[in-house]
Symmetry: C2
Subunit: 496 residues, 2 copies
């Protein structure tokens, strides 16, 4: 009752008491009736089953977030408003120590932009400027296109060989369940503009880093070199890249006109939103759950990463509503500025870095950190630090997650996500609840990243896996850190 | 050999001898070796099987057409260039009487265009001006949105009730195999702007007439009333229509800014391209095969209707390469300006109308007319004029087409397509080879209508159905016209 009453406190700037009431009522109905003395595994299974039975917390979260604020580019007013909304909502859901930590960034703003084939025929092209990429001159630029099958081929081109030309890398991203195709293709986006400029190119075109064949370009950030992205750089939609390749295959020179009115806001700010379920016995020990609140500007950031913020919030809320708190603290961090996860100017930063700096003194007590940032498809694999791979903790976890289709990985987490990477690099052990990434890169960073792409059953399965996992980790006293080397360390084991 | 030699004649403006050679060589390899004295059914089966075995004619056609010319809006230079290319290609393929018939139209040209939510939050919207719809003022227009679930609801609004508002019809198109959902939704596009303007609206928004959920708006033509489209009118992408409805459902007023720089070219011209396989016995009797060469401007018109032109051309080419011609003439017409199939100004016209007027004196000898204009999915149904529904012709056709998955319809063709409608309305019997339309309206009239959406196996099946059907009709002496009423006509039959 008290929670319901507290949600009736007027929130005039948001005007959503009715919707909020609905969320809280459905949460109350879902409350896991764990009896005192039940084993952690029994409670984990109850959390899992409650989430799988379907609920409104996660879907309402991502629906409201994307509907009210639309795109939330790093440093924008909408990112800031979404953070304020999220903090209010987290308080209303009963989280503790809810606060916002702000930090400076250089924001990048897409302007109007356009591209056309101008020879051998006039045809419009669907492009998107890559994040951080500079504007063209006001009248645009024009050049013949030189096509390279891969970034490696571009790197093999001689200095000066692209003078006055537009370099294009046509590499196709490979569809892979674990998202490995992304890692293989992304250097074309991050490093391509610099490599092209080094050889004299006046602009850079990239076949979108994506697995679909729709007329939408996948944006994404480029890498600063010496404090700047050297030339205007654009992603082409996959069908437009096909078209350019086909025309070139007819033996014709492809000439393109490009325009971008992108700009920078050097004194912008972004922010992390932090909320906790304080631990009942070891509150200083933190299990960190991360996801990012910012999004690219073309879509409304539903699967990247509205669903991630929804999944971790809903999982923590289910744990918060248990009759007794876990022993350790569960901390939810909704990071800002993940999409530009690189220093954008001297002294500036991004959410993951800002968190690790602000909370440096606490990191020794962070027992585990993980991130949800691969859309909304089901979790199919968990990965733990090596030290607990064969432990009772891992066996319990496997028993709880197997019924919802989750395997145990045979190796520790590798890419843990940009938000928690600085924390993990500071020594905090990482876990992963890996999502099926087969279709994620059909949508990722395109205008198509909208709420209709969210599958509620998949979302529920994610919440189930996160709630069960995080509960078990926070209720345990397991030490996930590497053990100190034994005295015999350095002496090779005797060969059998 | 002679055909191959003829293709080597320099065509400097097109520069495609190598590709053309490839097309002709693969055609030659495919030539159906029908022996003299074989039954028409046997030859039809051979044509069917040759097409199903896979060939390059149709795919090369749609690939080159869409690659070389991109979008081909009615009255544009690219439509004209595509028509010139098609005529040259038809000659090179060995067709007879190849010529172009030009006619005047008022062309409509999309300008730059944009839309944003301006309240309760600022969010970009993905829209496309509807064809023929006028520009806004240079600074655009702004108004509160009034949402109507259907056009019927808009029509029920009182005069003056939309003064200064933007009317929006949010009706969702139903997915249906025979495309019936399109007919049900299209009045929202054709009649909506006028109905909105009549009630005082300053602009009109329509949830795209389409079955997908991508961030692309489906354009399409609106209807002139009293010689004009009264207000700027736009299609919204389905996710954008969802977003507006969700915001309104939160109880908030949705305010939108719209801009369109569309314009008209009153003295443009379009053209039909005509080619024949002259009949060996009754050359004056014509089996008419239609498809349209123009396209909307957002995509490259691959499935609407590059594939249609490819299918009928490839089918006629297979027939042309038989050892002996059919008895009747097979006439291929690649129509212009189908997408604006309405008189756009006094004295102006569209391709289907122009053909019926120009060939009025021949129409009495047109034995049958049909059109391919529903993309590239497989033919699943044929429909014949009632008079031959139970004939040997129909039985033979069913035997030939059943093996490739085609049913016989239990009713005559209904909507025969805009290209041949004026010809059919002048009394020419219609046939239909109906394609599966389940996914066609995911792509139709969007930027996504590009070559990558063409399935080669489906394309082959279409060519097989058309080649077999057209051969049987052209080789027969069947009269497809309604019989004169018998003497007893007018006397009701005795009740049983």
């Amino acid at each position: 009752m008290q929670r319901i009453a507290s949600c009736s406190v007027p929130t005039p700037s948001l005007k959503v008491p009715a919707v909020l009431l609905l969320v809280l009522l459905s949460t109350a109905a879902l409350r896991v009736h764990a009896a005192a003395g039940q084993s952690p595994e029994t409670v984990a299974a109850q959390l899992r089953d409650a989430a799988m039975a379907g609920h409104d917390i996660a879907y309402s979260w991502v629906s409201e977030l994307t509907t009210r604020f639309g795109p939330r580019p790093a440093g924008s007013q909408s990112e800031q408003q979404a953070a304020a909304w999220a903090a209010e909502r987290l308080k209303a859901l009963g989280f503790e120590n809810v606060h916002i930590e702000s930090f400076p960034i250089t924001a990048w703003v897409r302007g109007s932009e356009s591209a056309q084939l101008v020879a051998p025929s006039t045809q419009p092209l669907v492009i998107a400027a890559l994040g951080e990429s500079p504007a063209t001159q006001p009248g645009g630029l024009e050049g013949d296109v030189v096509i390279f099958p891969t970034l490696t081929d571009l790197k093999a081109a001689a200095p000066g060989s692209l003078n006055g030309k537009i370099a294009m890398v046509a590499q196709r991203m490979v569809r892979a369940q674990d998202g490995a195709g992304y890692g293989a293709a992304v250097p074309g986006r991050t490093d391509g503009p610099h490599e092209a400029a080094q050889r004299g190119a006046i602009a850079y075109l990239l076949r979108s880093v994506g697995t679909d064949s729709h007329r939408q370009a996948h944006t994404g950030t480029t890498r600063y070199v010496d404090g700047r992205v050297p030339v205007p750089a654009f992603a082409l939609s996959p069908p437009d890249a096909d078209q350019i390749e086909r025309i070139a295959a007819l033996g014709q020179t492809v000439r393109v006109h490009l325009f971008s009115g992108a700009s920078y806001v050097p004194d912008a700010r972004s922010q992390n939103v932090i909320a906790e379920v304080r631990g009942r016995e070891r509150p200083q020990e933190v299990v960190l759950l991360g996801a990012h609140l910012d999004s690219w500007d073309q879509g409304t950031g539903a699967i990247d990463n509205g669903t991630g913020t929804a999944i971790i919030t809903a999982a923590a809320k289910l744990i918060r509503d248990l009759p007794h708190r876990p022993r350790r603290t569960v901390r939810v961090v909704l990071f800002g500025s993940e999409e530009i996860a690189q220093p954008t100017a001297p002294g500036h930063t991004f959410g993951g870095h800002s968190y690790a700096v602000n909370h440096q003194s606490e990191l020794a007590n962070h027992v585990l950190a993980g991130e949800s940032d691969l859309g909304t498809d089901r979790v199919y694999l968990f990965a733990l630090p090596s030290v607990v791979a064969q432990s009772e903790f891992a066996k319990t976890l496997l028993r709880v997650l197997t019924p919802i289709g989750v395997l145990a990985s045979d190796r520790p987490p590798e890419d843990v996500g940009a938000d928690v990477t600085p924390t993990v690099e500071a020594g905090v052990p990482a876990f992963a609840l890996s999502q099926d990434g087969m279709t994620y890169f059909d949508i990722h960073h395109t205008p198509d990243d909208t709420l209709d792409k969210v599958d509620r059953a998949q979302l529920d399965q994610n919440v189930a896996a996160w709630a069960a996992f995080v509960w078990l980790a926070a209720e345990s006293d397991v030490d996930f850190r590497p053990r100190p080397a034994p005295a015999s360390a350095g002496v090779p084991p005797a060969k059998p």
